[in-house]
Symmetry: none
Subunit: 615 residues, 2 copies
Amino acid sequence: MSEAIIYLDPDSPLNLQSQIRQKLAEAILNESFPRGRRLPSSRKLADQLKVARNTVVLAYQQLIDEGYLISRERSGLYVNEALFEGRVTHTEEDAAAAGRRSDWHRKLRGRVTLDRDFNCPPNWQQYPYPFIDGQFDQSLYPVKEWRDASRMALGVREINEWAGETGDRDDPQLIEQIRTRILPRRGIQARPEEILITVGAQQALHLVVELLADSSTSVALEEPGYPDMRRLLAQRGVPLVYQPVDERGMQVDERLDACQLYYVTPSHQTPTAVTMSMDRREALLSKAAERDALIIEDDFEFESNYLQSPHPALRSIDQDDRVIYVSCLSKVLSPGLRLGFMVAAPEVIREARKLRRLIVRHPPLNNQRTAAYFLSLGHYDSFLMHMHKTFEERWIALRRALNYYMLFYVEMAPAQGGTALWVRGPEDLDVRYVAREAAKRGLLIEPVDHYYATRNAPRNCFRMGITSIPHERIRDGVLQLRDLFHDLTQNKTETFASAKGAHLRGEVLDKAVRGTTMICTIAYGDPCTIEICPDGTLIGIAGNAGEDRDEGRWWIENNRWHRQWSRWAWGEAGVYDVRLDGDIIKLFDEEGWLIDRAVLRRNPEADSIAACDPA
Amino acid sequence: MSEAIIYLDPDSPLNLQSQIRQKLAEAILNESFPRGRRLPSSRKLADQLKVARNTVVLAYQQLIDEGYLISRERSGLYVNEALFEGRVTHTEEDAAAAGRRSDWHRKLRGRVTLDRDFNCPPNWQQYPYPFIDGQFDQSLYPVKEWRDASRMALGVREINEWAGETGDRDDPQLIEQIRTRILPRRGIQARPEEILITVGAQQALHLVVELLADSSTSVALEEPGYPDMRRLLAQRGVPLVYQPVDERGMQVDERLDACQLYYVTPSHQTPTAVTMSMDRREALLSKAAERDALIIEDDFEFESNYLQSPHPALRSIDQDDRVIYVSCLSKVLSPGLRLGFMVAAPEVIREARKLRRLIVRHPPLNNQRTAAYFLSLGHYDSFLMHMHKTFEERWIALRRALNYYMLFYVEMAPAQGGTALWVRGPEDLDVRYVAREAAKRGLLIEPVDHYYATRNAPRNCFRMGITSIPHERIRDGVLQLRDLFHDLTQNKTETFASAKGAHLRGEVLDKAVRGTTMICTIAYGDPCTIEICPDGTLIGIAGNAGEDRDEGRWWIENNRWHRQWSRWAWGEAGVYDVRLDGDIIKLFDEEGWLIDRAVLRRNPEADSIAACDPA
């Protein structure tokens, strides 16, 4: 039997008929099937491909309808010559030309410097513990709902609305959805003429920079901060002022006096995830009013506060329209879709729209319409809720695991939510090295030096994100990281064998702990007290306002102290060897690693009883 | 000395001339320079600003060319009032709000000037005769095929590929399809690293301008030309050289010597639709090589040559990689999707990709993947073929109808294809007025002044596009336009009643025409001869190479000359009253309007018989 003119791919997502049609069309266009030749009969091709004859007949018919094939009476099917009309044929010389090239280097006027950068490995999905931020978690993508919305946007009447040349207009349906569903969540009221859709939040930043900054304006940026904003401004030759970030967000002080524009990420500061406090927000707005400056509020990931209620957006408390609010839909709808928006005074939106027209006209309207349906069907709200819950679980899990396993290695910045934790390791840690070693063990963590414009980047800080790691892997991942830290700090960390203090056992141990309180600090900086009640119960209170509480049991067995919480430490029993060094109690796990260190204080009899009363 | 009307910024990246131009344009648009006032003399302003007088003279000249200023003889320069026509005036609410608002006006650094513009009415679909170009024709949209491709791109495995944060990469499947299916049609070979996907062709132009042009480069533009390219360059403060377009495309001469970059639309020049001839293409490439200049080839609508085979793209004949090729998929896939691409040396693509990342990251990847499927399924090729055929029919129909009905009103630019015709009306025509009158009769035509940067815009030219008007409406639309012209030129056009020459009837008529040849020129400039054979047949030959031929019959009935072609004039019988004025024959329709005018030559007996022999 002669060779088949095409071969089918068993893994193709196409059905057989579509696949035959596609491969034939390809062969015809490539001219790998010669123009003049007759096509095999449907029976013959069906035999060769081992498919039903009718499948081939239907594929052939489609190709005839589409003008690829023509049927000549009594002769059979041929390639339609008309297909090749209007094609330019190629000369051979081309290849040789590559040598004599224009000197591009000298001609490029607007080169972009991307300096240091963190490159998440493209195969991050193959890592068991990807503690990275902002990557897409396919398990959270609302596949079915997005498909439904797409289908609706592909109705004939719909297509007619979005497919044409609309100049610089956005889809009014999407504007309306953003106005009525998304902005009220942030406390923002806006009229349609105050909203512009952009190709991701990034484009909104670009437009604002082009409109409001040039070499004669100074712009204040957070340090550390969002690298691509820094690059956009640098690209335009704008003088920059780097403003430090503390636990309440970007500092507001006299360094802002010289700036006409402040760029801030108040919800979760990029990259520390710190939320700007209310007093800081007010101070920033006052400063702007006093200096007649403008504010760009980048709410790229709007506040997901797991510990308190979220703060209002700056724009919502701005009394004199100084804030340009930038955000996006990508957190629910995937970054690949590139849908962002900005909210600002109508004068700014009007100018931004004119500029956007020269740059991209408008973001694709089919996606605008699909997103409008997705929102109006309520999918956005329900997925946002779902994601909030999922990320909250992961974030809490990561925070707890770091606290439990790595208490003596790390401190966390005081975040209240977000999708990443900013972690400070021991002073002598070299994070670039640790990140490489971690990757070898299947763990991805993010160094932070690329977030710094100045040379002040700490070598011992890193970020751990939770957007892409399933909840059930988090604890195990932190254990792996702990083991790495153990290995890297061999002989530097206290172990049971090397630690100072008496090893307590049996009755001595019981007497030493019963009726006492352990006072310690947990890894995210909050205080924690644990009452070891005489009746064998435990009462744990953590957090600045004592907001995190748990109860448990303790007992002694085989000369070791056992404790088990109802929630904390995953509700599992911990088994510890104990040393007492003055009034410092030290707990070591079964492998001899230090797990907990606390000041031990004996309770006043009465208090102790009262405290241990089941309330 | 009085106060200067503008102040220069010593730190501006613009040169003095550009800065003066920009600041004056701003002051004019702001109306901070009052409309009615005369501008200071160049000498006075030069003194105030402490710059050379010539710098001011050149800036003034540019503002005159661009329509900001007009010169009144013996009086001086004034703000052009036409600039403010069609401006939206502010509501009172706005004004009230402005009080409490930040003073945006003063803060906007990068305002875009959209000056004159043609605004197609948004309800153009309600007009029976929308002779406009580039608007979307829903009847041509491949709804089912796009839906199929969308569905495929929404598979779970697919979503995982496009939804995530991919940094700055494009969909490799789309790159491959463009490389293997689209570019070969234009004779272009490209490797994947020579292709970048953009948010419409407009973004490709923006990236190229940002990368290759600034106030120290001069750029040559076609005049008339694409307004949004002019605006992009003006926005960046780039000095512009306006290069005239003739029937072979943009002129190549010594004015290009001063330019580092040439922007051309060779396939169908925007807006004249003229195709750049091969010799002109070669001259342009030689000039670029000689002056070490670069070329931006905007193939936004790639050549649809209905009369000959298409020319190869400039990039395909470029020997030393000087051409940056820009095109888009929007002609088949709808402008609303915003999918464009550029092909250039890898060095340029690399830089453009970095810049694109800061501006939009990348065009939405769901659309990239959907387009890749659409292409790989062969739908793109078959729809392109379908559109080519549809537009060809419409274009030929429009050309014929204009030729038949409006021969004495219009001339057409020598186009060979495209989606619009550039039409020149009588010298005293005011197209703005005619367009308004036409709209009242349900006809949309496009004035052309917004395509001109200089004040050279002819008032009597207009464009008629065929992308949105069904074939069956074209003839009727042209008839309506003819009637409008008749009405507007009452008493100026020759009619049967007013024309000179003897009215021929009966035998006299027969004797006068039998065995003669009518020699005339048709509206698109081609010669035409019609042999009126003694045996009652007609032989018509039109075109420079005589490529358009038809046969027909003629006879006399009721003292009128009848002629009927087999294809020409829709194969319908025409009935004419005839006048003979010297050797000029004039045909009038039944309403007395002049339909045809030709030189009448008596055939040599022998020739005539030979010519009329049925061949």
